[in-house]
Symmetry: D2
Subunit: 306 residues, 4 copies
């Protein structure tokens, strides 16, 4: 039974993601993304599940920066988890009793419509996390009457779900990834994604255009680009790229080798099956077969044969 670290405490959306990705894991909650990843690095855990981006909030910068700067780890899987907030309270609490609500600020933002409509007079207080809010509400004598959190948090802390799916949007999604220590990569499936971090060698005009051209010439489609500061002053950035395909694919290998040549540093973060299962569309000129055929042709003309 693998031991998998995750962003805790118990009852977070991350735990929910972990349960879906690894139902039989020995779950190890950690206080921060960094702590979860360090547990993998140190060998204390066999893997970790952490959030990478959210369809409303964007990239989880802690995760992005940990991947870029910390000891290298490999992403081996991803999951898209719908973010569904529940209103949770101690048993026997009724709607009319809810005067003080405790939850994370992102949940306040995302449930504003429900709160205004159903709890117009409630006082809403910010918590460090939705799971922490649920935990607090579960304590006897808590000053709060209800928490907004994942349903799973209610199960953990013995709270009742008074209302489900109370977010203003029903399509909010968080993307989680499972990471491991460097080792064997997941096999290509035809529906894969690869993630890289790229540091520029020198930040000249057109550097980003050159990077994108390395991808496009080999028919590799980007699915995400995110710039992050290097820390060395405003105007200095490094980049996260997600793109279609697996590092074992010839076109992906050539594209990232090109990046490796023109950039200061390329850190490979993994190739893994896409959560959405979409099959990668590959142009005839950039299939593995086309690359193999071109390699054979090149070897032949280099020997002087035509």
């Amino acid at each position: 039974m693998p031991r998998i670290a995750y962003l805790g405490p118990e009852g977070t959306f991350t735990e929910e993601a972990l349960r879906l990705m690894e139902p039989d894991a020995d779950r190890m909650p950690c206080a921060t993304v960094g702590a979860a990843l360090n547990a993998v690095r140190s060998g204390e855990a066999d893997g970790a599940v952490v959030p990478l981006e959210n369809s409303l909030e964007g990239g989880i910068t802690t995760t992005l920066d940990e991947f870029a700067w910390g000891e290298p780890l490999l992403i081996t899987a991803e999951l898209l988890l719908p973010v569904q907030f529940s209103l949770l309270a101690r048993p026997d609490t009724e709607m009319v009793h809810i005067k003080r609500v405790y939850t994370h600020p992102a949940a306040i933002t995302q449930c504003r419509g429900y709160i205004n409509r159903e709890l117009p007079d409630a006082f809403v207080v910010s918590a460090p996390s939705t799971a922490a809010a649920a935990q607090e509400v579960s304590l006897p004598g808590s000053p709060y009457d209800a928490a907004i959190a994942a349903r799973i948090a209610g199960e953990h802390y013995g709270l009742v779900e008074i209302a489900a799916n109370i977010g203003d949007r029903t399509d909010t999604v968080t993307r989680f990834v499972r990471v491991a220590r460097p080792g064997t990569l997941p096999e290509p499936t035809g529906s894969d994604r690869t993630t890289l971090v790229v540091f520029l060698a020198d930040d000249h005009p057109g550097a980003l255009l050159e990077m994108l051209t390395e991808f496009s010439v080999r028919g590799v489609n980007l699915t995400r680009i995110e710039s992050r500061p290097t820390g060395d002053g405003i105007g200095r950035y490094f980049f996260h790229f997600d793109f279609e395909g697996h590092v074992a694919d010839a076109r992906v290998g050539e594209a990232i080798s090109g990046l490796h040549r023109i950039c200061g540093e390329v850190r490979f973060l993994g190739s893994y099956p896409r959560a959405d299962g979409i099959t990668t569309q590959i142009k005839p000129a950039t299939t593995d077969a086309a690359f193999t055929e071109a390699t054979t042709w090149l070897a032949q003309i280099r020997r002087g044969g035509l």
Copy 2:
């Protein structure tokens, strides 16, 4: 005396930025970036100063999203402010008495070296903002002995600066912008920056490459690109661009007109003098004179003259 809203409370780095940009302004602290910007939109304030990005933390996503989605506003100036943290306490506090420190989590991260070295036994607690931490410490009976905050916060709340510039890095910088309601643009100075938000018409492979090519063909150099989620699911992004030059420049005008034609929506956020004062290097083929000459030539050949 213009009335300028800013991200408060009193004593924030934003206030420090505002004092440097508009020494004589009537300062109006607001609880959130959104509130500061809304004060401008409603006419309650004449302008606002808000943080846009930080050299360690990256883009301030609240600001980025407010600019993209809220009622349009114009950036009219920018400032680069070194982030210098001070250790602040009530008068007569000595170093040995400091057992509990209160500050914003970003400050904890950025002052970790100092804390470990000088206050190894102190208990450090997270505050909503550095200014709020200083305010709290200033209250008689506060459970905290010291705050880490901007020096200006000490002046506001009657605290003494026990140690100055205690951040681990001395080169951390935050970029602030001053915004106004749409109206007259700042004059071009030869050292200008322009900021745009761009929404794709349809998110096809190569769309970002096409956008960057619109810039490069007109010799316009990007200085920042930031992707943000549109909210419509993982994989859907819009983009913030900063680039050299002023919308009054011919090459900039043609480049962003090109973006306007190929993209779903381009929102112009302003052209304003660069805080670093670096003069834009323009290739001979993309000066205003070159554009004017080409326009004359085109008019002539369209009339059948050669």
Copy 3:
């Protein structure tokens, strides 16, 4: 009745092209392409018809170079003329009598199948032009029994067409253009072609890629590119471009203005209806309407309106 110079003598394919383009013209045969064009330049002729390229032989370099270096002229129309060779002889000549055939070397090459099959024992001699061959054969006492030439040459010189369309390929085509002194351009028709000559400012690596990018960014499709030596040594070239669209089109105007800015010299050779009548496919982002809309938008944001 306009006086139109053409590449003579009477009976050339060029005359045939001229008759199709300008049935009522006063035809003025000239010894060379240069002479025909000079007749226009001097005012002696109102226009000229000259060959530009052939689907087997390629560009007619004399014409290309005359357009590039001579006093400027405008192309106002084009014609695609199938090259159909006839075997022409004096009246009463029968196939069995044909022992000596006279024609231009290109015709020898292009009718090799027919000659080998039908005239295996004939002696074939090179003539300066197919029309000159017909003229020679028409003379009493000519040493030649037949000419291979355009049917029109037979009509001119009183020869009988013994066999028609004897070329090995039935799809060979020559493209002719009608030129005039600079003046009013033909109106855009939606199915237009534009021709340019471009000299580089400095021949740096990537110069051609930059030129093609000026076209592609504005959605302008090339239909022909031809490099010609500048005369200043091996490795120095200038370029002929044909592309879809009319100089009056916004996207064409912007593209060639871009070329004009980055290149040493751009010589406009004309915009004129395509002979094949194919309607130019224009992407929504590069229609005239899209350019107009973008211009309006740009003017508005330059005034500070959003």
Copy 4:
């Protein structure tokens, strides 16, 4: 002693080129470029020397088309030969006696200044080649008094050089290539050129831009591009490319493999030392060492190592 075919008859500039390239060869004059190349193909000759382009006239289309369509051959060397015309006559001829001059039309064009100045009253007649003109003049009873040809033609046919270097330009150059049957390639020297012929798979808009991008992404600089008609109608072309570097170079190999994947057919015509001896400038990111290092890196990350 290798037997080398060349474009004859004896006394041509091509013979001069051959003597410089292969002083000890057994020289075999041929009537046409095609005949010279066929002598190599059939094994009758060990190699051939033919002209490829001229700095005034441009590409020698016969040679270009032979390389593209005929049985494959390899270019193994190139030579740049200054084109120096001499006025040649039978012994004892004096300038005042020269009334009829015989030479190739290109020589007439290129020596027009000298002819007008020194032989204003002479009648100038077109010959099939400059060497043929010299040969004719050498015959007793020739109707011509002088030929304009290469000095070497005078040596061959016993003519005296009355005036040397009489061309209007002193810098005209013809580029010759030596070809062989497919076999061992010349070794890379650091100053190499490679020649290709490329046929498009489907002639879509942007196809040429895509081809050039395959080169530019690998830092390969073009030195010549020439379009030639495929024969299948106006608007259908194939391309000749010359570029810096040797097929054994990693960046060249990857670039032409890319072309091979995206194009209908790529025919390799050879890698050989540049006649001008210019050392290829290679950017650090595209040296062989950079490619090797990237290959090692890729293998490592594909194994899951980071």
